[in-house]
């Protein structure tokens, strides 16, 4: 059942009643809010002002907005220079380009140079849709989380995206905020706890022991909740964790889940190689090895299609999460198998 402490929306699993908004909207609202709170906040955008939702900030603070043109590499280093003299720059583009195309500039002139810059990467994941694989960043978590001095946040809905945007002003070093293009369910509320670096339990079986814990990030957290509900009906006891911060990882919550459930499924709209699931596996293998199944894109590029079709096509729908849960239960050591729930 839904964790009451998470204070999620009432119609959590009713896709017809749930409000829908893209997470990039939360970035847009968050930028304006952050700009009001801190006069040093500036926004740079590489010719994608409307679609990255940087437009509202530009209207509110025209003197603190810098249009960069189609020049993501320059944008990253210009931001480093602005940060050097006291500004807190957000740089907005598509994730494929920033932190994709400008990765080295982010590494050398921001991360290694220890500057506080926030990268807003919109249009991440295959759910970008008809634009196709060129615009579907599914490698961005891997290339950012590998860098020292980096915080990587993947908000699960527009409300959380706004909170993450505002919170990133108070962090240090480089922050990568990952956003999606498509509208997705808004299922958290203003009261849902959000702290950078702390994963939240959104769903927990009423009685222990758990069979599986699902660790998800981004809008797919909602698919994980839908899967948990279905599994619960079949007697499979599941915990769902919203692991919005991939770096630094909330090792405590993840290790506790591994101990409580004895098996994990990770869910992300990203390559399974090097992504959030890999980050989870890195700490699990070091501390408390349990079977893990990974839901994500399997070593291939995206393609054109409608967002929901693509989520289905690439194996990240609730159905696929349920299948992964069943697979991982079968892999549990003998004493766990009696509780496989069919």
């Amino acid at each position: 059942m839904s964790n009451p402490k998470a204070k999620l929306v009432k119609d959590l699993l009713d896709l017809k009643k749930l409000a829908q908004a893209p997470t990039r909207d939360g970035y847009g609202f968050g930028l304006v809010e952050a700009g009001k709170k801190n006069k040093n906040v500036v926004v740079l955008c590489a010719d994608l002002t409307e679609s990255t939702r940087s437009e509202a900030f530009k209207k509110e603070f025209p003197d603190r907005f810098v249009e960069m043109g189609v020049a993501e590499q320059n944008m990253a280093s210009v931001a480093a220079g602005m940060a050097a003299v006291g500004k807190i720059p957000f740089i907005s583009s598509y994730a494929m380009l920033s932190p994709g195309r400008n990765w080295e500039q982010i590494r050398t002139t921001i991360a290694y140079n220890d500057r506080h810059v926030i990268i807003g990467g919109a249009h991440a994941g295959v759910s970008v849709g008809p634009d196709g694989a060129t615009h579907q960043a599914i490698e961005d978590i891997a290339i950012t989380r590998v860098l020292p001095n980096m915080t990587v946040i993947v908000p699960c809905d527009a409300v959380e995206a706004k909170k993450a945007t505002i919170a990133s002003v108070g962090l240090k070093g480089v922050v990568y905020l990952r956003f999606a293009r498509e509208k997705t369910p808004v299922f958290t509320t203003d009261k849902t706890p959000f702290k950078v670096g702390r994963a939240e339990i959104l769903w927990d079986a009423k009685v222990s022991p758990l069979h599986v814990a699902i660790i998800a990030c981004g809008p797919l957290v909602h698919n994980a909740l839908l899967a948990a509900e279905e599994l619960g009906k079949k007697g499979i006891k599941v915990r769902v964790i919203n692991n919005h911060t991939i770096k630094p990882l909330d090792e405590k919550t993840i290790l506790k889940a591994a101990k409580d459930a004895g098996a994990l499924v990770t869910v992300e709209e990203h390559q399974i190689n090097g992504g959030m699931g890999s980050a989870v596996a890195e700490i699990i293998t070091r501390n408390y090895p349990v079977p893990i199944e990974f839901v994500g894109v399997r070593n291939r590029f995206g393609e054109s299609g409608e967002p929901n079709e693509l989520i289905e096509h690439f194996g990240m729908s609730p159905k696929h999460i349920i299948e992964a849960v069943r697979r991982v239960i079968k892999r549990k050591p003998a004493q766990g198998r009696s509780a496989s729930g069919g």
Partner: protein, 295 residues
């Protein structure tokens, strides 16, 4: 334009000599690193740190300081040597160049060494950072000048031109870039590797004020910087025509000395075991002022 007094020119020449000696000694000690670029830029560095820059070696983070952004980080031995002579740290510390635990990293790293404004090495990103500083300081109504030192070779990199375009659009009067036009890069002469000319026309087309000067002439360099500060409607690019390896005759104008220290370079003039001592001897012979422990 202000004219430097003869005494000042002599003082700067002496500083440049000391800087060349120190950087050569640090390269010999390190056993790796770049020679040609640092030697060629010693005069520019001497002028900046001992005449032009508003800075305080005892307070490297003084907010009112001018900013010096070194884009072509590989010439850092000349910056380290200059900073040491300016009082940021001891000349002795320059002997730690490139060694484990040193503050003087093989390519400059800001957080290792107070007084550095950026981390650099991968070419083409310094001008962008300087532009960012210039835009941000202007937003706050500050008058600090940002000096960006660049190589000619890094004009192969697209990012340099992205930054040049933005600086032109923004009419950054507070930005003064100085290009080390020494005509060499690692793989050969710049015009053979990837033709850059006409550089002046290119920058002018991007909305910059451009001044060509002799890069070893303190009067010309100083006048150009004064002129740059007086041009309020555009950023300025000073193309400083320099001799790579300047001061060590066997290295001068030879691209093979771009990335080699004395003792590791081509042997057609001197065998490797003599290159270090010869470099220091040539500096001494050239100016008649430098004492060497390598005699």
């Amino acid at each position: 334009m202000t004219h430097l007094h003869d005494d000042k020119v002599k003082e700067l020449e002496q500083k440049a000599n000391e800087i060349r000696q120190t950087l050569i000694e640090s390269l010999i000690e390190a056993g790796s690193g770049h020679s040609a670029g640092p030697l060629g830029m010693a005069d520019v560095f001497a002028l900046l740190y001992f005449h032009v820059l508003k800075h305080d070696p005892k307070k490297p983070d003084w907010p009112e300081r001018d900013r010096l952004v070194l884009s072509n980080g590989h010439i850092c031995p000349v910056q380290y040597a200059t900073m040491a002579h300016a009082g940021y740290f001891s000349v002795k510390e320059t002997k730690t160049l490139r060694k484990l635990g040193t503050r003087l990293q093989g390519h400059p790293h800001r957080t290792s060494l107070p007084g550095l404004e950026t981390t650099s090495g991968p070419l083409g990103s310094g001008l962008s950072q300087a532009v960012g500083m210039a835009i941000a300081l202007r937003m706050d109504g500050k008058k600090n000048i940002i000096y960006c030192l660049m190589s000619d070779g890094e004009h192969d990199a697209g990012q340099t031109w992205e930054a040049a375009m933005l600086a032109g659009r923004e009419k950054l009067w507070n930005l003064v870039a100085i290009m080390d036009r020494n005509n060499i890069q690692i793989d050969g002469n710049t015009e053979d590797v990837m033709p850059l000319e006409p550089l002046r026309a290119k920058y002018e087309a991007f909305g910059w004020h451009v001044i060509d000067v002799g890069g070893h002439d303190f009067q010309e360099l100083n006048s150009a910087i004064d002129e740059a500060k007086a041009v309020y409607e555009k950023p300025t690019m000073i193309i400083a025509h320099t001799i790579p390896g300047k001061g060590v005759e066997y290295m001068e104008r030879d691209f093979r000395w771009h990335g080699s220290p004395p003792g590791k370079g081509p042997e057609d003039k001197f065998p490797r075991d003599m290159q270090g001592a010869e470099a220091l001897k040539e500096l001494r012979t050239l100016w008649g002022k430098i004492k060497s422990e390598h005699e």
